[in-house]
């Protein structure tokens, strides 16, 4: 699933770097606040672990082996934010140093695997595990399911990115410039492998490691199980996931991103935002009159407006429908829409998780003892 350079257009790469950037920013800020001086050693060593785990050959039923991604277990042990940082670090070293995955596609790879993967794994794990005890087998199932869905979510993102390329980027003769297969081929081709082999490898590793940690080192599982008593309880640390504090912000950002394309596509003009051309367009003239208490607009554009309109031309002149139809821009809009939807879904899932399982997410240590 590591997309190399040359499979995605630079526009797609830039959009996905842009999509990943806010997550990196928030992840760095949050983990810094929670871990402070521990941030550097913990994330670096864990990134090294993530790197090595991706080299494991996991035997899966049927006699074949596949490489896991390790995103499920990283997210369950570290929480989603630290997991995003650790996985991105590992992906960076893979791309630059080992040539596994492209440099221009690094944003896309981090977005798919580190960000989407970590968030899905964490949400599913928290939802399914509920308030079950640290050593309950429900946690193993939750982890396995989280890992399986995380890698498939990441693969689906990659498949969509690759599958969109031939729809939008073609040479003058119609030859696809980047990944050549349309969505109808790319999605099944990638998903079949991940729903079976790679997904199973991830399922085995995530579930297996959680089962192992329950026996050998349950302390590592308590970060993402706040409020759940430990077998031999010591002081509970605060949850590593400070999701709640930023929830309103994320809801707003998600809503904005989802609604932004709708705003651009909406018919009609904002009152007062008429351009020179609108004054000579009978349809728009009627619209202006209707929204101006039936006062007809002047027959010609005001001369000042006409003069000023020539001074500066915006990169996207007017909200004309032509640029929305332009493939590249339309694609960025849909990417934005997609990211917005993901954020909203994550916020919603987190909210449901809390409703289903009411409990103090960040309760002070002493209340947990009894």
């Amino acid at each position: 699933m590591h997309i190399p350079d040359g499979y995605l257009s630079p526009v797609t790469c830039a959009a996905l770097y842009g999509g990943a950037a806010p997550f990196w920013y928030v992840a760095l800020r949050k983990t810094r606040k929670l871990l402070f001086t521990r941030l550097v050693p913990l994330i670096s060593v864990f990134a090294a672990f993530s790197f090595v785990i991706m080299m494991f050959n996991i035997p899966i039923p049927g006699g074949t082996t596949a490489h896991p991604l390790g995103v499920g277990i990283a997210s369950i042990v570290l929480g989603p934010w630290a997991s995003i940082l650790a996985l991105s670090t590992a992906l960076f070293i893979q791309a630059f140093f080992f040539g596994d995955g492209g440099v221009t596609a690094l944003g896309a790879n981090c977005f798919n695997m580190a960000i989407v993967g970590s968030l899905i794994a964490w949400v599913i794990y928290r939802l399914v595990a509920g308030r079950s005890s640290i050593t309950s087998s429900r946690r193993v199932v939750a982890a396995a399911l989280g890992g399986y869905l995380a890698i498939n979510g990441a693969a689906l993102c990659a498949a969509i990115e690759l599958g969109l390329q031939p729809h939008f980027f073609k040479s003058a003769t119609g030859a696809p410039l980047y990944a050549p297969y349309p969505l109808s081929i790319a999605i099944p081709a990638i998903m079949i492998g991940h729903l079976t082999f790679a997904g199973l490898a991830e399922l085995v590793v995530t579930g297996g490691v959680v089962a192992y940690l329950q026996r050998a080192n349950p302390v590592l599982l308590r970060f993402t199980a706040p409020g759940v008593p430990m077998p031999h309880d010591e002081a509970q640390p605060a949850a590593m996931t400070g999701w709640r504090a930023a929830r309103p912000l994320w809801t707003a950002v998600g809503l904005l991103m989802v609604l932004a394309p709708l705003g651009l596509l909406a018919a009609g003009k904002a009152w007062g935002e008429w351009s020179v051309r609108d004054f000579s367009n009978p349809g728009v003239r009627q619209q202006i009159a209707r929204t101006s208490r039936n006062v007809a607009p002047p027959a010609a554009a005001p001369r000042g407006l006409e003069r000023l309109s020539n001074v500066w031309t915006a990169p996207f002149p007017d909200y004309s429908p032509s640029f929305v139809r332009s493939a590249a821009f339309g694609y960025i809009l849909s990417a934005m829409f997609g990211i917005g939807s993901i954020i909203l879904l994550s916020v919603l899932a987190g909210w449901i998780a809390r409703k289903v399982r009411p409990g103090p997410a960040r309760a002070p240590a002493h209340t947990e003892e009894g």
Partner: protein
């Protein structure tokens, strides 16, 4: 992440083999980075920016000639920097062909367009557009991968990371990347030792279920070790006065050759954009 059919070697052998492969790659990179070549003499920042300035037009160009030209530039730079073609052939060119070439193989048959050839017996149609798209993909990937490998093979990794500051990567991320690389080999080594010792104690074949248990437990053990290691590193850092602030020494100096090569990279990049778009 591709699933592979189990050959004669079991998963333990395959996993150890990939560990050794990674170590070999790193060892070779460190060796060539010390050689006396053109790229090795450049300031890492110039190299990083220059290589990126060539990768982006290689990814954006619509002209075969321009992408091929950028590939030629990469080959010339490799020759001037004592990077062995045998290594490039094995690590990049053939590796890319085996992966991307296979992926691109069906493209000439499934891409709609003007038919240029009918495959005998099967009657499959080969389209010009399909051939072009397969060509674009393979050529692009080969060029970008060669350029990227060139950067890594001629620059010590710590210098690559410090050069990232030019691209405004936060200092704390640069430190994390550097430490990750350092501990990568420690974790690789301990994973390798775990698998080797496991192998040396095995006299028969494991069942599928047992194999999965071994793999998952090994990952779990490795994770526990990782956490202990991170605690040790943390304490060691603290005892040496680490208080959470990261400072990087900026000891790079740009000389005349650097300016000349920077100009060269810029010119090639602009030319590639000019003719390629």
């Amino acid at each position: 992440m591709a699933a592979k059919h189990r050959g004669k070697r079991g998963f333990l052998e395959r996993t150890t083999a990939s560990f050794v492969d990674a170590l070999e790659h790193a060892f070779y990179a460190e060796q060539t980075a010390r050689a006396e070549g053109l790229m090795q003499r450049l300031d890492p920042r110039v190299k990083l920016v220059g290589i990126l300035a060539l990768i982006v037009p290689a990814a954006a160009s619509r002209s075969f000639a321009v992408i091929a030209g950028l590939f030629a530039v990469a080959v010339v730079l490799a020759a001037l920097s004592h990077v062995s073609f045998a290594v490039l052939l094995k690590r990049v060119w053939i590796a890319v062909l085996l992966f991307t070439g296979v992926i691109a193989l069906p493209a000439p048959f499934v891409t709609p367009g003007s038919v240029v050839y009918h495959l005998p017996w099967t009657g499959w149609r080969v389209t010009a557009q399909g051939l072009a798209s397969a060509g674009y993909l393979v050529l692009r990937v080969e060029t970008a991968a060669t350029l990227c490998v060139l950067l890594v093979l001629t620059t010590p990794w710590n210098h690559v990371l410090k050069a990232l500051r030019v691209l405004r990567v936060p200092a704390v991320m640069v430190t994390i990347l550097g430490m990750t690389y350092r501990y990568l080999f420690l974790v690789l080594q301990s994973a390798h030792d775990m698998f080797e010792s496991r192998r040396s104690r095995m006299i028969g074949n494991l069942t599928g279920r047992e194999r999965r248990r071994v793999a998952a437990s090994s990952a779990g053990v490795l994770m526990s070790k990782t956490f202990d290691l991170s605690n040790d590193v943390y304490l060691a850092m603290q005892s040496r006065g680490y208080r959470g602030e990261v400072a990087l020494l900026d000891d790079f100096r740009i000389g005349r050759l650097d300016w000349a090569m920077l100009a060269g990279f810029t010119l090639v990049s602009i030319a590639a954009f000019w003719w390629g778009l």
